[in-house]
Each structure stands twice: as C-alpha cells, then as structure tokens.
C-alpha cells in the first residue's frame, strides 16, 4: 500500500501538537473531495450500488423475526415517518446500558429486547441493509448530537482518541483530517473525516460498509491494531466525529472512493 511509504514521511515532519479544531464554516463533506463521476453515482439512486442494500433493508423492515415473531414495522410503522431524524441523533445515550450506542447497536438492541431475536453480526449484509434503510430516512437532515453531562465523558474520550498520536506511524486522526485535509495522499485528496453518509458504498470495498469498518481501515492505515467491531473506543470516536460534524447534512447512502 502506498500509505505505508507516504505516511511515515508525512509523520516525520508533523509538529507535536495537532492544532485547534477547524472553524464550523470551513467544514466540508467528503462529497466535495470526490470526482464529478463519483458524485453522480451518489446522487442517482438508479446508479448508486447502495440502492441494492436499501431495498434489502426495506424488505427486512417488514419481516417478522425472533421468538416474539414481530417485524420492525410492528412497533415502528412506516419508517419514512418514524425513523425520520433518528440517524442524525446517533450515537445516542442508552439509559439502561448507561453508555452511548451507535445505530447498528441500537438496531441489535431492538432485535434482542423486542423481537427476542439474535443480534445481527457486525458488517453482515442484513445489519448493513437495515442500518442503511433507517439512516436513509434522515437524508438531507442536519446532524444533531446534544451532549449532556452523561454523554460528556464519552465525547471527551472520543476527542482524545481523535487527537492522540497512535500506531507505528505515530500520527493522529487530526494530523490528516484537521491539518492536512485537501492535500494529496497517494494521489487522492484527504477529506475532513465527517461521517455524513454512513453506511456508505466505498469503491475500495465494492460494498456498503459501516463507519466502524472505515475507522478500522484508518487505524490499519497508521499501523495501529484496529479495535474489534462494537468496541467502546470505536463508539466514542463515532460520537466525537458525529458531534464534530453537527449541523452538516446526512447523505446516506453516500458513495466514497
């Protein structure tokens, strides 16, 4: 991977501190860093490969499952109405578990609690399809993460994770995505890392994938051991990234290189 060659050279010249956060008006979605053709792929539902997952999600929404033998629709009715705005508020604090859950974990919590069904494995087609379908209902809506005293410690840990140096390359998320966004890495422009379109179709994966999958790729990119799916560290980072992107519009299902 080119990153193995380029990133150590970059890391060698980076100052110790990663600097202040970017101004809200400077924030730009990853959409703006892509070619016109890739943007067209995202905008056109007939050409966006994620549409296949959306249709799967739509079918799963009305499928009865678990020992309770009920579907999502049984409690939540028409997703276009009831799920509107939901993805824009996730990760969200769960009162019972006393920690934030992301949307995938929330869906699985519904499966175990309400449907009495087994949770869907992370990155399984079914979980991705359902998450994409739910998140799509918030398309165009601004991200809204309200942080209260309960959520604050998790947000702080997420911020620290974003700003700390890590991995064999010893660079932080902030180095690439706060300081060097817009510059080129292996010929591609570095985006600002706002998770506005997840789950999304990544051209590199040739599949729809979750934000956690992408974060694990980032960690592999700096040669750090990626946290396992569902790890609290990943949820805290998701929380921080969504909070950092607050006000930006949801684009699910997006397409990214």
């Amino acid at each position: 991977m080119i990153a193995r060659v380029v990133l150590p050279l970059v890391a060698a010249f980076l100052p110790m501190s990663s600097g202040a956060q970017m101004a809200p008006e400077d924030r730009r979605s990853g959409y703006e860093f892509m070619s016109a053709e890739t943007r067209a792929m995202q905008d056109d539902e007939a050409a966006n490969p994620a549409t296949l997952w959306l249709l799967d999600g739509e079918a799963l929404w009305i499928r009865k499952d678990g020992r309770a033998d009920v579907s999502c629709a049984h409690c939540h009715g028409d997703a276009a109405t009831t799920m509107k705005g939901v993805a824009a508020r996730y990760p969200s604090f769960d009162l019972k578990l006393e920690r934030p859950l992301d949307l995938e974990q929330r869906i699985n919590a519904c499966r175990t609690d309400a449907q009495k069904a087994a949770p869907l494995p992370f990155e399984s087609r079914e979980l991705l399809a359902l998450t994409t379908y739910v998140a799509r209902q918030s398309r165009g809506m601004p991200i809204q993460i309200n942080v209260d005293a309960r959520l604050q410690p998790f947000l702080d840990r997420g911020r620290n994770a974003f700003e700390q140096r890590q991995g064999q390359l010893n660079i932080s998320c902030a180095h690439c995505h706060e300081q060097y966004w817009g510059r080129k890495l292996a010929g591609n422009p570095i985006p600002q890392a706002h998770p506005t379109g997840y789950p999304l179709y990544r051209l590199e994966w040739q599949s729809v994938g979750s934000l956690q999958r992408r974060l694990r790729n980032c960690l592999a990119g700096v040669r750090a051991a990626p946290y396992p799916f569902g790890a609290p560290e990943l949820v805290e980072l998701e929380l921080y990234l969504m909070w950092r992107a607050r006000g930006m519009k949801i684009e699910t299902p997006a397409v990214r290189p």
Partner: protein, 106 residues
C-alpha cells in the same frame, strides 16, 4: 434479497429513444485475487446480460472480470410498443437472475 434494480421510463412516445439503466448485485470475484493465506479465490462473475422487448432481443452483453462489482449497465432502445422488457443475467456457478419492467407507449 434485492438482486437487481432496473430503471425504465414508465411511459414514452412511440419512436422515442429511451435509456434503460440496470444494476445487478454481484461480487464479480475476478479469479485473480488471493486470500490472506495466498490461496487463489475462484472466479465468480456474471458473464452475460440479455434484454428482450416483448420477446425480441434488443441488447446482449458479455461481461468479463474487468467489470466492477454490482454491475451497472446502461443502454438505449426505441420505444416501439407497449409491453414488457425482460432482463436476464447469467454467470458462473449457475448464477441466473430475471427482472421485468413494463412500459406504456403512446
């Protein structure tokens, strides 16, 4: 599970050239990749796409591993009459998928 999405204008004027967009869910495993232990991953691709319009073949494509996963294929046809467009994909490991769309031609 949803396997294909076809986009055909529901109505058209007689003689009008219409654009048909097709998207089929398939990994298109090239046969040139290896797993983490160095073992080759067997080829598994869609090899053929055929479209018929009220039974008459209007387009046929032979696909190779160089086609991206979840193949998109867009082509045109003249809206000659109302009826049914049939789309058929076949490939390795007895892959076969059919989809239809109706069109009203005025």
């Amino acid at each position: 599970m949803a396997r294909a999405v076809v986009t055909v204008p529901p109505r058209a004027k007689r003689g009008e050239i219409i654009e048909i967009r097709t998207l089929v869910g398939h990994r298109m495993e090239t046969g040139f990749r290896h797993d983490s232990l160095g073992r080759p991953l067997a080829r598994d691709i869609v090899t053929q796409f055929v479209c018929t319009y009220n039974g008459t073949e209007i387009c046929r494509a032979e696909l190779f591993p160089a086609i991206s996963a979840n193949p998109l294929f867009t082509f045109t046809t003249i809206a000659v009459e109302s009826g049914t467009l049939e789309f058929k994909w076949t490939g390795d490991n007895n892959f076969a998928l059919n989809e239809t769309a109706s069109i009203t031609v005025e």
